[in-house]
């Protein structure tokens, strides 16, 4: 059972990639990208976890119990918020494509000129 959390991260990554490859809609594609991003969050938080650990908040912490890894949490918490504006940028591109071609299907963009 030990590698199960990492397998979950792998499943999310491959599933998101499959969604991007097979997508016929830019909005669907953008959400699949966030699923791929989630796989990195799951990996990082699982790497930092400790059995019988406690949250890395020293206020009111129980003495003697180890703290889980705060470094990976710091990496993840900033990226979660940044992922929103990245999603917004991707959706802005999708809206731009929609305005030019009237469609959000990547297959119909071939005739687009700048």
């Amino acid at each position: 059972m030990a590698p199960y959390p990492y397998a979950v991260a792998g499943v999310l990554f491959v599933a998101g990639l499959y969604g991007i490859v097979s997508s016929r809609n830019y909005i669907h594609m953008a959400v699949c990208l966030t699923v791929m991003q989630s796989s990195t969050y799951v990996t990082l938080i699982c790497v930092g976890y400790l059995n019988n650990g406690q949250p890395p908040i020293t206020q009111g912490a129980q003495p003697g119990k180890p703290l889980v890894d705060p470094v990976v949490q710091a990496l993840t918490l900033t990226d979660v918020v940044v992922s929103v504006v990245v999603l917004a940028l991707v959706l802005a591109l999708a809206l731009q494509a929609h305005r030019r071609t009237g469609s959000v299907d990547p297959d119909r963009l071939r005739g687009m000129r700048g």
Binding site: A2, P70, L77
Partner: protein
Amino acid sequence: MNTRTRALLFLPLGAALAAFLLWGLAGLPDFGSTQGPYARYLARHATAQRHVTNVPTSIVFDYRALDTLGEELILFTCVMGTALLLRSSREAEEQRPSDRPTSAAQRHLVSLLIPVTVLLGLWTISYGYLTPGGGFQGGVVCGAAALMLWAAGGYRDHRALTPTGLVDAAEGLGAAAYIGLGLAVLAAGHAFLANVLPLGSTGTLASGGTIAVLNWATGLEVSAATVLVFHEFLKEYVQTLPGAAED
């Protein structure tokens, strides 16, 4: 290439990637068994060195403040990109169709919740280095309040209460304050973004030195960024309402 061919092509490549990924992930330390050297060091020394009780916040705004500057600039660039893309192709004439909600219950209930949300956001930011929370999370909560303005009073109220010029300025000010503090520390003869302010007493709001300042700068920038993103997408939304010019 049609969807079928693409799926067929993905099957072997995806399987190969999944195998490679699992091989790599299987090489990681066992789940829940290993504490990294940095984690061990920080668990022992972070609170003593920086006088803050939330260790991840001390990493975000102190030990690795330069990384956070990178994240902030990604945030800033993405928001600018979104605004440029959506503003450039929109008609110059500002359309303000009315979409005031018809349900009185919605108007009153959401109006009541707006100050609560702003307070929750400010509270999350201000206690960010003592308990879980911080500028990034609280900023999004404050940004959500701007969206609630729209839910309570419609697009016109939202625009009237969050003027674009002010939000743009706040966005720039947040990023500038972060970089400015780093440069000021540099000018004073220390390393870029080094924590040189008095650290205060652990467990109070007056602790952490520059962590508190950077926390608020980030809170301001993230709130402004979230409001700006909602702004641009709401403008897109109102173009579909009756009374707006079709493009």
